[in-house]
Symmetry: C2
Subunit: 520 residues, 2 copies
């Protein structure tokens, strides 16, 4: 099976079902399939061939969804680009991936001008919308490609081992790394997600989190396979998203933590009705049981904490509750829903201690998570050294440290590289962050180690306070001392207006450490 | 992934969850895994190695489930034997598969005595229970193998393309044919089934239909993957099955049509409570909307008509309703639930007309169903000629004729070889049978063609009447004439006490034709 065959099946099983809506555009599966075939035919006519890299710089949109499918029909490799990247990073990725074509939205004209000036070779430029005046004569319009007759076009017969997508990770150092995902990886993941989330043709997914990232993109395939409907949120706006929930009858979605926090803090969010909503997913940052409770009380639906990596298509764990936990007291349920979660259907996970053996499932012993299975990447594009480093004995080493409890639920305690060692004691930043989050004044925080001549490292915290709350370091430190051993209490609290984030919205502890070292 | 890794995952994710119950034996997933490893270690010590064929002749039981898993851990190929076969067929299968070992229940001592007398070589005989006196010194006891320490045993690392099971089809002619199913086939099917039936750890499956047949065996793997529970019904008895539904909190099961009809006819069945039951599956024979209605009114749960083949692991279609059909009038719902169904998640289906093109999805045009995908067999064991005949252009030709409607639901009208051509007109036996079934006196019927010097073939029907109903051919023919074109009306109705069936419970039209030809 390949990715395209998912849309073929949906079009055969659900020809007249609403597949996707954007503004006044409402496409059935038969229509979506037809449009994607026309687009694929148009791209082929423009010179894009099987195995060519097709880079995309585009906000969440129907066009994005169609590009995912059209690339699959062509056998081209989609390279979704992070829309927050600057010209230097974009040039690097276009060069490293050897992109044959770049599809972009006109709003990126500025950054693309700089990319092209920097000498990055882009043979073929295609504008999805709003072709900018500065590029009046350069490139093609996606709308024209969509006019291509699909009649003669036949989707490529692709092996599962062929690459479907290249996702460049938001690493802050060195050369860009392109995670290769095969057609096998993404189709297995889609079927696993159908099983885990019990997806059905009645489901409506809204793409709020960026479609260039797998945390959202996986749903494009899984929802289609189930015959569900997809709608799009091109930029995040609380009122617009909540309105869209109601207007489209959204049943489930994934939100990055910042979005989710902004939504539950949004005025009147809890007073609205969400009759269709059944599940909200989030991940990428730890979450406190109290926050899970607020999400559930706001939206009156299930909350699932997710954990994964681009390298694993992406899910590794989900905090879906086992049936017997659904009978537990609410506090217990909130606590389990706030955990990193138990293994996703299509991966095998182990938590390996320093002795190379699985740690005891006691919720205390810490080890590194490793994974293998059908949804694990074969490696990095044109980077055998990085690929070799990522694996040990056939297992992908995640670099994440976690405990595992007797129910099989993991709890990440830290990134291996973010673990702090102070005076010979290991300190997991997540534990300290959880304590800080439990304080009412803390909106967002990050705990990290900075070099210390005496202790090796010392603990520091950066904190964003809630609107209207005081930036009172003494109160926070007192709170921390009440809940943590002395050596884990931050030596210093830095109040900041916002935390530095990577392109995909993860807090950059590296930058916090750098700033601290520079005394900023 | 291979089959064994499913149980490994379940044991890791649900170690203390009830995996299987039989009598006083209640095993958690950790215990089931441990037992299966001990059994695998014992089998290896007894001489069973990777890729060896391990034949099993056993009623539904916990031992059967453990043998499925132990074979997978060893990399041995399980050969489930139909418990209704005679010594000649059993000898043929043991010889054709080259079975290294035979595991059998003591109640089959009689037939096995004849098998061994016939000269079939069985190196290794293992008794699950009730070792018969006649075999006092021959063979081993499964209970002893289960005592083997699992400590040192390591499950084999198997490729997806390796054979997990060989199922011998109940063909009535020629040499036995062994359908090879790979580890990839059965794991994909298990995940597809999880997605389709929304299986969860709260599910409880009862093995009522025979575990030697894939119509039931697939659930062994899918239910375990979801962390559900399995219980066993060694022989069919209405009261015992209904009691088991209540005692174990059964949530779903598969029943062969005869069992299902006997259950809904059973005294007091509709008056019982079935609070846990959520879904009943059946297949292998067409069903009338009126019968679907009776099933739903008896059990107050969902009914799913299934269609599949051993060659496809087994599901090809399910009559699960799309969400918009759940809003339709009850009669429409019964009609859709009685259809053959729409494509199962892991297969691609086409209905191909005589011109080699897909037929129009109008519910009228008839073509042959063909299938391809991850759950389709690579072919028949040691039978390249049969394997080649089964496929055309990479598609498995099912030999079943069907229509497909605008919703993508198939309706089988006949086996290709059972279609009757009379006076140049095509007659699909299923259409005629449906009309007969709508008559209140008909309990079971089969329509088939017999050679006719004038018309080529003429239509005949064999009918079993309901208890107490008259065997009135004129009344039935009048009824048929009211609902069918003249050339489709049976020329003759034969009343029989029961219809001849194959080992797997399918009506043998071949035998009906033969009897008719012989004037019996």
């Amino acid at each position: 099976m390949n990715l395209w065959s998912i849309l073929e099946r949906a079009a055969r099983s659900h020809p007249r079902k609403l597949a996707a809506s954007e503004g006044e555009e409402h496409l059935t599966y038969a229509e979506l399939r037809e449009r994607c075939l026309r687009l694929a035919a148009g791209l082929r006519a423009a010179g894009v061939a099987r195995a060519d890299r097709l880079a995309v710089l585009e906000p969440n949109s129907l066009a994005y969804l169609e590009l995912y499918w059209a690339a699959a029909a062509l056998g081209a490799i989609l390279v979704p680009l992070n829309t927050r990247l600057g010209p230097r990073e974009l040039s690097g990725i276009l060069r490293h991936s050897g992109a044959r074509a770049l599809v972009a939205h006109g709003s990126f004209a500025g950054v693309l001008g700089d990319v092209i000036e920097s000498g990055a070779a882009v043979d073929l430029l295609i504008w999805t919308r709003e072709r900018p005046a500065t590029f009046a004569r350069a490139g093609l319009d996606l709308a024209d490609l969509l006019q291509h007759p699909a009649g003669e076009f036949r989707a490529e017969e692709l092996a599962e081992s062929e690459i479907a997508q290249l996702y460049y990770t938001s690493g802050t150092t060195g050369e860009p790394k392109g995670v290769m995902l095969t057609h096998g990886n993404v189709t297995w993941h889609a079927l696993g997600a159908r099983a885990e989330f019990k997806l059905a043709d009645s489901d409506v997914w809204i793409h709020v989190a960026p479609m260039f990232h797998l945390a959202d993109a996986w749903a494009s395939f899984a929802i289609a396979w189930a015959g569900g409907t997809q709608v799009f949120s091109p930029r995040f706006d609380e009122a617009a998203v909540l309105d869209a929930f109601a207007r489209h009858g959204v049943t489930l979605t994934n939100l990055v933590p910042t979005m989710l926090l902004r939504l539950i803090d949004f005025d009147g969010a809890a007073a609205r009705e969400y009759p269709s909503l059944r599940m909200i997913l989030s991940g990428g940052a730890p979450i406190a049981p109290a926050v899970v409770r607020r999400i559930i009380e706001t939206f009156r639906c299930e909350y699932v904490q997710t954990y994964g990596m681009t390298e694993t298509s992406p899910f590794l764990t989900l905090s879906l509750l086992k049936s017997h936990l659904l009978l537990a007291a609410p506090q217990v349920q909130f606590a389990y829903r706030a955990k990193t979660g138990r293994a996703f259907a299509t991966v095998e996970l182990e938590v390996i201690g320093e002795d190379g053996q699985p740690v005891a499932p006691d919720g205390v012993a810490v080890g590194e998570i490793r994974a293998r299975g059908h949804t694990v990447t074969p490696g990095y594009w044109n980077d055998p050294a990085a690929s070799a480093r990522a694996f040990a004995e056939g297992w992908l080493c995640t670099g994440d440290l976690a405990t595992i409890d007797s129910e099989g639920y993991l709890q990440i305690v830290d990134r291996k590289k973010d673990m702090i060692i102070s005076g010979g004691e290991k300190i997991y930043s997540t534990e300290v962050e959880s304590v800080l989050y439990a304080h009412g004044a803390v909106a967002e925080c990050a705990v990290y180690g900075v070099a210390d001549p005496l202790w090796g490292e010392r603990v520091e915290a950066a904190v964003v306070v809630r609107a209207g709350a005081p930036a009172d370091a003494d109160a926070l430190l007192l709170h921390a001392r009440q809940h943590l051993a002395g050596f884990k209490v931050p030596r210093r609290i830095r109040f900041v207006a916002e935390l530095p984030k990577t392109g995909t919205g993860k807090i950059s502890k590296r930058e916090l450490r750098d700033r601290s070292a520079l005394g900023q």
